[in-house]
Symmetry: C2
Subunit: 237 residues, 2 copies
DNA sequence: GATGATTTGTACGTATGTATA
DNA sequence: ATATACATACGTACAAATCAT
């Protein structure tokens, strides 16, 4: 029974999961009292979970005005994807240099198997594999801090790419892009792996940003819950 | 009067500043009650500040065991510096491509002026300029999210490079490395700027890691306050 | 290994600031 | 514009876990 830790920490993980999975849409207001009653706890651990989430950038908090799930502007989303691309490209370059023989064979194996998923057109399944694929490359960088940084950025970007594989033909082109990355890594070509990964993430950017813009809640590019332009408290300034 | 915000937020900023400046040494235990009495507040805002700091990775928190200023292992420090190098290198490449004419002239100007500081041997002054120099390049990437990411990583690394300029001759060699970066940026050579910046940060790594290792508190490479090897709760896993 | 002291985690009440009529 | 309603921020009390003996 590894049911340990504190209420605040468990709630934080729970909310983070819901935000990343898209269950809690960006812009959604999080109510202390409602969450406290819903999860059967007092408001204290809820507030502590909020602070931790704000520190991670998953929510934005303004004094006396509550907490909303982070809803970046279009400009900022593009910036986030650019950072994602650069970090993943770095991971790919280091992976190409540092992976061991068995690790390379494992990556190739996983990549080959994913072709089966592409053929069935299973978008859900491919999304899951895609997560694994990128995780493998994070780890292959042999730098756990880089790995964590990559995952932290991905967490903040994921809410906005939930549906990227709904775009027609995206599955097979994603696989083709993966192939470029994998081949470069297999032959130990760091520069090529970096370039291929950067190009791959760039494609996701276009698909995702456009998709989100079409479905953006509210007319203006600002969260509808914050009518004025008072800047939010940025805990990672 | 911009004396606003909450007690928890102000305390968070205060502690973050003290951690980054080295006033609060890595491994130092933070006591809820002591801080509360010292700052004239109750434990509640202190605990909320702790959660936010943990979310940023500046402190580590373990259930029922309190909070200590983050004290990475040597391995992890090297990883952090590698990430710092990669992110700063990315900033430099983008800066070389994206800076406007006036911005380039401003960078050149600041760089030239720093030569005066080098000549006087004013380590304090050069450290301050160095911060500005890197900040300029973060901003010049024209990506505010990248800028914030770079600063977030730097915040976590800074406690371990306080004294880098104490090493003899480090001032002028740092200036020479800056020169490589500046010249590459001025001629718009992204690849060269990236390489020069990566090399520059790499040098800081060696100086800093060695310095910290010599002054590391406690014999083993683990914080002396955590005698067992129970893993800390990583809020940015 | 048990017990008391200390510290952290949670509940709840009240005050203060924000939004709404 | 003022007052009222409401959510958040903070303080205090208590419970639970850790540590020191």
């Amino acid at each position: 029974m590894s049911e340990k830790s504190t209420l605040a920490d468990r709630l934080r993980e729970n909310l983070a999961e819901q935000i990343v999975s898209g269950e809690l849409r960006p812009g959604t207001r999080l109510d202390e009292i409602e969450l406290a009653t819903r999860f059967g706890m007092s408001r204290t651990p809820v507030r502590e979970a909020f602070k931790a989430l704000a520190g991670m950038g998953l929510v934005e908090q303004r004094p006396h005005r509550g907490v909303v799930v982070a809803l970046p502007t279009r400009r900022r989303m593009e910036e986030m994807f650019e950072v994602m691309a650069e970090i993943e490209a770095t991971c790919a370059r280091l992976a190409a240099i540092r992976m061991t023989g068995p690790e390379r064979r494992f990556l190739e194996q996983a990549h080959l198997q994913s072709l089966g998923i592409v053929r069935t057109g299973d978008m859900q399944g491919y999304a899951s594999f895609n997560n694994d694929f990128h995780d493998i490359i994070y780890r292959a960088s042999k730098n756990s801090f880089l790995e964590e940084t990559a995952r932290a950025v991905r967490r903040r970007v994921l809410p906005f790419r939930v549906s990227q594989f709904r775009v027609v033909g995206r599955l097979s082109s994603s696989h083709a892009e993966h192939d470029q990355v994998v081949q470069a890594i297999l032959r130990g070509d760091g520069a090529a792996a970096e370039a291929a990964m950067r190009a791959h993430v760039a494609k996701v950017t276009v698909a995702s940003v456009d998709f989100v813009e079409e479905h953006r809640p509210g007319q203006p590019l600002m969260p509808q819950h914050w009518p004025d332009d008072t800047p939010a408290i940025r805990q990672n300034p």
